[in-house]
Symmetry: D2
Subunit: 185 residues, 4 copies
Amino acid sequence: MSGRPPRAAAAVLAQTFAVWVPVAVRYRDLDPQGHVNNAVYFTYFEQGRLGYFEALRQLGRAALAAGAAAAPVTARTLEVAPADTDDRLELPLVISEANCAYLRPIVSLAPLVVGVRTERVGHASLAMAYALCPAPGEPPYATGATMIVCVDPTTGRPRGLPAWTLAAVRHLEPDLRIRGGGAQG
Amino acid sequence: MSGRPPRAAAAVLAQTFAVWVPVAVRYRDLDPQGHVNNAVYFTYFEQGRLGYFEALRQLGRAALAAGAAAAPVTARTLEVAPADTDDRLELPLVISEANCAYLRPIVSLAPLVVGVRTERVGHASLAMAYALCPAPGEPPYATGATMIVCVDPTTGRPRGLPAWTLAAVRHLEPDLRIRGGGAQG
Amino acid sequence: MSGRPPRAAAAVLAQTFAVWVPVAVRYRDLDPQGHVNNAVYFTYFEQGRLGYFEALRQLGRAALAAGAAAAPVTARTLEVAPADTDDRLELPLVISEANCAYLRPIVSLAPLVVGVRTERVGHASLAMAYALCPAPGEPPYATGATMIVCVDPTTGRPRGLPAWTLAAVRHLEPDLRIRGGGAQG
Amino acid sequence: MSGRPPRAAAAVLAQTFAVWVPVAVRYRDLDPQGHVNNAVYFTYFEQGRLGYFEALRQLGRAALAAGAAAAPVTARTLEVAPADTDDRLELPLVISEANCAYLRPIVSLAPLVVGVRTERVGHASLAMAYALCPAPGEPPYATGATMIVCVDPTTGRPRGLPAWTLAAVRHLEPDLRIRGGGAQG
């Protein structure tokens, strides 16, 4: 998602996010122009990403509990919860690329939501897309994308996404096509 | 509130706040120690303060609407709302002093609440106290205080608190003694 | 500059920035991974952008002082200075798009520099590129880009870049081709 | 240092800091009032504290190198440097209390300095004072204080300050009286 998406595309995006995460705007987020500062949007996306990964972990936990068949989880608004402590659901990630298209300024402290979905899955990476909206499906203030890379926490080098992550992404994003090889991870 | 309050005092404080405001902890609030950074607590207090002033403005709006007798407003958890646009409820403030006693570290992204109350009212100032807690009345992570001064937005010099503010504080904090003179504002 | 530039290209970029602005890394910029948080890079780019615009204003002031012929200003490291108070050098801007390619993590508090240049000039916009480096010309930690739009401060709608800005950009970036029409601004 | 110090006292404070650390104000530090936000002052103090501890570590390194007699280090302006990697100079700290007296607003991006000194030394704690000034010894924008506690990194419980720290503080602050018992640490 490089460049400013057309308004129509933005509207479509906003209706098709797997997960919506609430974001509280803080007074501290505003700069002397009276707008949310441009850098803060990436913090909002980060909160969305944490919520998305929490949704993945819920699916992972359910799968661990059930042996294999996780209960279906549908799109919904998540509170960002404490990090998982189950080592089997570890997922060390770094961001290799981020972008944001600022469509209209955020000038109030009214709460927002950020829609999050996975766009593409690679061997060691997830391409994720975001829309920052007044409410789920409403015209976004901004859209964005990040490329996330799974790394070995010791060496910092890319490594394949865990199988539990691929299974959970597939569950959360039924329309997404994932490379066959990756799933065996 | 300089110095670390004894635990018993902290518990009492936590039960006696006029307003509780939810605070969402962000991943960005944590520093390399894995704790919420010390400076961020003052941002949490600021969110609490905004919620408190929104409660005052709700009372002010009710009083304006009713002529004089505002409907009783009791302690509750507020969402921080957009600033008031009624010029009669303008309240230009600066902070002259702030402090925080860090009682135990915040190490997760679980949501918090900040309790807020007015401790003392001066001619042009409000002494406000805060407690940052897992939930209203639970043992605080931190307590704090700020001195707030009402200023002339043009000159930046202190000026008396508006009458609507004094009336609303009196409403929200029935046990608080307010200097007689101030109320005529 | 969407996507991760090849290393060779990054090295070239780093040598060809019109302005280098020092950036002090703060402990507060690091997150629990012990790295500078992804959102903070956009704050570093912003500091670079402010330094670049200060360089433009210095040229604008020189041109105002000299009537027309400004003294040549060459690339150098700038301290970010207070905003200009000469209304003739006003330049109200918003960001319509931003991106960052994270090439390697920033794990220490050692000072950085951000290289800034204008990539393209449109009627109402500037495409700006950044490289965040240990020192001018050294291999970057990150590269980035923002699209900046000149807006009418009252209406918020795009308006042509001021003539003084175009003249100053042309001065600072002699190799940049600027659309003929824009220069008459 | 609770409460707003009188102007005369502030001036005295400003001339008597052992270490002065430069602080770069960022655009992102300003809030919609056009002032540096109240919480950011504690980040400035933190940068000062890091510079102070770097000065202590320089003394500690010199003492380790020399066996015992460190070269005299006098007050000066320090760049904040990367953390020390010598385990013998480890110093795990938490903040138990912080306060700030805001004397006049910071409204420009001009660089600042923060003066730092140790006020009192306890068995496991340092009481530190700060002044945020346009330049060393000039009238401060703000003064502040923090109580710092040395903790066991595993248990999080207070533990005595290391002997190298006490020796370095004594060196840097020749007029400070340190409890006799602590120095044997």
